[in-house]
Symmetry: C2
Subunit: 215 residues, 2 copies
């Protein structure tokens, strides 16, 4: 039944697309949730940003929790797929980890509020969607972990390191950026470069440093 309508899609019948302002509404929602937290924010706050009445929001989402789910979805989408693609590349573990860090940071630029809400407010999602979204999250962790383990196996990274802890360290480092990205005046590439250097090379000066880039 529902599938049929996809084939018989009546896109032609009406040129005026329904819910044209949906992106704008969800953007404002993300902003307000990012600023005050899910429970700290009221639907009135969101409406105020948009200049409409509180009740009008319910034309765009069926409940406040549903709105949170929409925001969180846009906060995670892409991370897993991009990460998987990077991990599968035929390059060194060092290079791939750098790319993972960089790609993990880049959504800060245009989806900072969505990412922030996902990171801080996903705990307040209804049980079902929280588990669904949690799966993606854990999938991404596993990608980092695996690349690190491969780096150890390939002799690029220190043997004996705890890949799980390193993963949590790197992700914690990157995710924290969502909380200070707007205040600090650093570009994403600069952050990514500094973080990569820190993780790959550390702070200490190497006795005989081999420049890995510039092939």
């Amino acid at each position: 039944m529902i599938g049929m309508t996809v084939a018989t899609l009546p896109t032609s019948r009406r040129s005026a697309s329904p819910r044209r302002r949906a992106p704008q509404i969800i953007e404002a929602t993300a902003m307000v949730f990012a600023e005050r937290g899910f429970h700290g924010a009221t639907t009135q706050d969101i409406a105020d940003v948009l200049g409409i009445r509180q009740a009008s929001l319910y034309y765009y989402f069926s409940s406040k929790e549903a709105a949170l789910e929409l925001v969180c979805l846009r906060g995670v989408e892409g991370f897993f797929e991009t990460g998987k693609a990077i991990a599968a590349r035929p390059e060194s573990a060092q290079k791939r980890l750098s790319l993972l860090i960089s790609s993990h940071l880049s959504p800060m630029l245009d989806r900072g509020n969505f990412v922030k809400v996902f990171l801080n407010e996903r705990q307040h999602l209804p049980a079902e969607s929280r588990r669904r979204i949690g799966r993606w999250s854990r999938g991404l962790e596993r990608i980092f972990e695996q690349v690190i383990e491969e780096g150890v196996a390939a002799g690029e990274f220190r043997a004996g390191l705890d890949a799980r802890l390193v993963t949590l360290a790197v992700l914690g480092m990157c995710n924290a950026a969502s909380s200070w990205y707007l205040k600090e005046n650093k570009g994403v590439p600069a952050i990514a470069a500094e973080f990569s250097n820190l993780v790959i090379d550390g702070l200490a000066i190497r006795p005989a440093k081999r420049r890995p880039s510039r092939r």
Copy 2:
């Protein structure tokens, strides 16, 4: 006036100390705030944990916000002082940074909920106490930053690194531990060791590694 009572402390007059259960009440409050967030938690939730009535809590704090402030205070207290003491030691920047990381992680053990609430919920404090607590926070950041800069000046750390970004990276890494410390089964010393290694030495194997310890 207030100072006088300290000298004339009437501890002897009454053996029953007032607010004996205060520590227990604040502990339960921290637990509930850590679990559900400040606005997501109700005073009823806290009372349920303690097995008392919701209104009885107001014998121990004057408002929900005041309770948050109490929890946050115990979540930050000590960090700044300990950090300052470590930074002033006459040891290498490497060693001091390792100690800073370690001491920053150790409160996770016995005050995990307080730290977590401070990190995640301090934004909901009333303006005045938020600023006061924010000062300590920024003070601690400056301590990390300074040790890193001293490390660069002393030739221990890479020249040209962005001390501010490295500080944010290290703190983000450490603070994230508050969100996974209970789930993961790692001891604080193991976490501190892995994080120190990561920051000081990085992941990459050194061509000619000098073992810094074991004098």
